[in-house]
């Protein structure tokens, strides 16, 4: 299943690249700032340069393969958005020039790709626990940050569950191979409802089990491993910021 592939591409994978060694807070800052930066410009050249920079970062953390499979999975989504946008643009401003439309779309695709790459890099090189600790160190309460770890850990379990639901319904004669688009969409209901119900029940059980074991009993908690901003973090952030500012301001076309 496509969804499964995309979810696998988003899971943390241990490693020893520069990105793996960075402080999670620095990586989060990098991802957020970059995502904001691509919305500061519409120039095709600047956006292309930004994408190249992110691809270099992905290459440095040997994640190009993942990025490629993720992009492949998102092609249908991008095409749908483009088609809807085209209709909308012609409704809002019917006299739009063809070249302008291409520019708009190019900017859109580049932005989606940049955001996709930075967040893939971020998520693939940061373990859920590191991310959670980073957020807690930034001031978020532990009880609010912990669900993040849970969400990541439960991704494979939820997918196994969806597979079971799919099997159970096919065993009761549900056929996805037949029918037009509308009928097929309606056939998703027997898959979605049990999956959601099972997830909610699991969430409730988990919450009760955690409370029973004293989760959130103390407002502050400490961590065994302390986080510190190192020279490497500062160097990475400074370099990325410099390059990105140059991309956005200096590329003039």
């Amino acid at each position: 299943m496509l969804v499964e592939k995309v979810s696998q591409a988003l899971l943390y994978e241990g490693g020893d690249s520069v990105l793996h060694r960075l402080d999670p807070r620095v990586k989060l800052l990098y991802a957020v700032l970059t995502a904001l930066a691509v919305f500061c410009t519409e120039k095709p050249g600047a956006l292309t340069a930004m994408l190249v920079v992110q691809l270099l970062v992905a290459y440095a953390s040997s994640l190009l393969g993942r990025v490629a499979s993720l992009v492949r999975g998102l092609v249908p989504f991008l095409l749908t958005i483009m088609a809807l946008n085209t209709v909308l643009i012609y409704v809002v401003s019917p006299g739009i020039e063809y070249l302008e439309l291409v520019r708009v779309f190019y900017a859109m695709v580049m932005r989606v790709l940049v955001v996709l790459v930075v967040f893939t890099v971020f998520i693939s090189t940061t373990s859920p626990h590191e991310l959670m600790q980073g957020l807690v160190e930034m001031g978020l309460s532990y009880t609010a940050a912990y669900p993040l770890v849970v969400a990541f850990r439960f991704i494979p379990i939820v997918f196994a569950e969806v597979q079971n639901v799919y099997d159970a319904q096919r065993a009761r004669g549900l056929e996805f191979e037949r029918g037009n688009v509308l009928e097929r969409l309606r056939k998703l209901v027997p898959i979605i409802v049990p999956s959601v119900v099972c997830s909610l029940l699991r969430a409730k059980d988990l919450a009760e089990a955690m409370e029973a074991r004293g989760f959130g009993a103390f407002p502050r908690r400490t961590f065994y491993r302390q986080m510190r901003i190192k020279a490497l973090d500062v160097a990475f952030l400074a370099m990325i910021a410099l390059v990105e500012v140059l991309c956005v301001t200096l590329v003039i076309f």
Binding site: E161, N164, V165, D167, A168, Q169, R170, A171, R172, G173, L174, E175, E177, V189, P190, I192, V193, P194, V197, C198, L201
Partner: protein, 283 residues
């Protein structure tokens, strides 16, 4: 009992999951019409993987599976599921409608294209859950949910019925009810396959065969008496004998008689003593 005709044939079935784990390693199994077969084995021995081959949810990586002489690789799941009804372990994996009645109607609609309210009612009545038919399948007890899942398969009358861990989480009364339902189906000549760890339940079921899986292979295929008195075999599946065989083995009487349930043991003892000693128990 009709019999003799093979309804499911597994020939040297190998199955490897996409993640590389090999769950079945050359399974050979022939199930006859009217059989009541238990498939037992430790966790991870390949039981669920095997039954998913019987309605085509999984296709063998090597070897072949024939269901009513049809190779599962050449038939759709829907076609095979019409013949082979599987009741999976977790009923919540299949409920999506707002009433028990509608839930039971789902498979019937898919297979026959029409809903026969009479039929739904009679199946619900047979399982003793007729009073629940307007209730949401989410707000009834687990035992009742199990029966609704069973009803949703029984209603379209598949020739072969497979139950995956049907007793997990059921209380004693629900188990006994399930037992009598299965007994009735067996008497009607339906082919039953039960995958279970619940050795006491299996000992009380009128089985004619027990198949033991271990590490993706069939390591035993024989009568329940042979299986449930074979301590080493059961141990290999991390099971112990049911309590009556256990008692007989401990007393060292297994060469004398092999009862599986209290009733069988009682009948034997009574015939031995001629009824005089135990006569009081009957009143």
């Amino acid at each position: 009992m009709r019999g003799g005709e093979e309804v499911i044939v597994a020939e040297n079935v190998w199955y490897r999951y996409p993640n590389g784990y090999t769950a079945l390693r050359g399974v050979n199994l022939r199930i006859n019409r009217g059989d009541a077969v238990a498939i037992v084995g430790a966790n991870g021995s390949g039981k669920t993987t095997l039954i998913k081959h019987f309605n085509g949810l999984l296709k063998p990586s090597q070897g072949r599976v024939l269901v009513l002489d049809t190779d599962t690789r050449s038939a759709s799941v829907a076609k095979l599921a019409r013949w082979v009804g599987i009741v999976f372990q977790n009923p919540l994996n299949q409920f999506f409608r707002d009433s028990v009645e509608a839930e039971v109607a789902f498979a019937l609609e898919n297979f026959t294209g029409e809903v026969d309210p009479e039929k739904i009612c009679s199946v619900l009545r047979e399982l003793g859950i007729e009073h629940l038919r307007r209730k949401s399948p989410f707000e009834i007890s687990l035992g009742e949910q199990r029966r609704v899942a069973l009803a949703s398969v029984l209603v379209y009358e598949p020739e072969i019925l497979i139950l995956d861990e049907p007793t997990a989480g059921l209380d004693y009364n629900s188990k006994m009810k399930l037992l009598s339902i299965l007994k009735r189906l067996h008497e009607k000549g339906r082919t039953l396959i039960v995958v279970s760890h619940d050795i006491e339940f299996l000992a009380r079921m009128l089985l004619n065969r027990v198949v033991v899986l271990s590490d993706g292979r069939v390591v035993f295929d024989g009568s329940p008496k042979e299986a449930f008195y074979n301590v080493l075999l059961l141990l290999s599946s991390r099971l112990v004998p049911p309590q009556i065989p256990e008692l007989v083995i401990r007393l060292g009487l297994e060469h004398l008689f092999n009862p599986l349930s209290e009733d069988e043991a009682y009948d034997f003892l009574r015939s031995l003593i001629g009824g005089s000693f135990l006569a009081g128990r009957e009143s």
